[in-house]
Amino acid sequence: MPNIPVVQHILSANDQIAAENRALFDASGILVLNLMASPGAGKTSVILATAARLPAAMRPGVIEGDLASRIDADIIAARGIPVTQINTGGGCHLDAPMIRSALPGLPLADLNLLLIENVGNLVCPANFALGADLNVVVASAPEGHDKPYKYPGMFAAADVVLLNKADLIDVFEFDLPFFERGLRMVNDRAPLFLLSCKSGAGVDAWVDWLAGPERLAGPERLAERWRQR
């Protein structure tokens, strides 16, 4: 009964397709964000607020992931942003094959930024690579300051964290230092931006970071792409 060493990631089949997605995005010069959050944190609002403030040279497209409905996709389409909808039919996360299947629904040649709105969930989306450049985790003040302690896997996977509905920090007695300590416990690299999609406060700082020269300090591949713009 020989023992065969394997040491292979359980989702390596998904990882393989994620790598193919990423190669396609690279070849197309598209920066890809994977937005993850609980339901109601404001992922769609972040997409709309971000798109509204992007420099003119940036041309966004959106993949909307939801269990069901086209509600979010219709809102985004109404703003004139190219969008395609994935309905997971009850599935709790997006995976790389779903992204691959959705791509023909977008004019990739016209885009240089793709925002993927994952299914609202702070657990499993973190396990499934899509081929994105940046994992954007959106938290929000009404959810409470304990989320990094309860969902450390998600916050550890973040490349950047947005705290939305920051105008409600006092209303919900959201303990920002406690939240930030929990985040830093598992993630010492992801910048944290406080913003309010409702008032617009803080959105510029996040968009400046996304579109700004700081990105050049990122991975070489990303830096090269930004230089080409």
Binding site: M1, Q8, A13, C92, N127, Y149, K150, P152, F178
Partner: protein, 114 residues
């Protein structure tokens, strides 16, 4: 419910490896899963019993090795094993300056074959 695709992944990795070694049967699958990976052993076992029917892994035993997550105190250096929800302060000196490492592993370590 994400244990379903995870279990499909386990089965896929194990069966492909067994085929490469011309195995007739997989008797055991050894998994390493971090405590922060958000996966439930019983749920994986439940799906595995269904999905493995009529495969090389039918009847195989799953072994779960839990990779711990360690909180290191930035004040006194004390190391504490943690699971979610994480500690909010060091149990030794009460400092909130903690750094958590490990616990996110997620792989098939080895298989036993006939």
């Amino acid at each position: 419910m994400h244990e379903l695709p995870v279990t499909q992944g386990i089965l896929q990795v194990a069966v492909e490896t067994a085929r490469q070694h011309n195995a007739d049967h997989i008797t055991d699958i050894h998994l390493v899963i971090g405590v922060l990976a958000g996966l439930v052993d019983d749920s994986i076992q439940f799906y595995f019993d269904i999905l493995s029917q009529d495969t090389l892994a039918a009847g195989a035993t799953l072994h779960f090795r839990r990779e711990p997550a360690i909180a290191v105190c930035g004040q006194c250096g004390r190391q504490t094993e943690v699971t979610p929800p994480l500690l909010t302060a060091c149990p030794a000196c009460a400092s909130p300056r903690l750094t958590v490492t490990g616990g996110r592993a997620f792989y098939v370590d080895s298989i036993d074959i006939d």
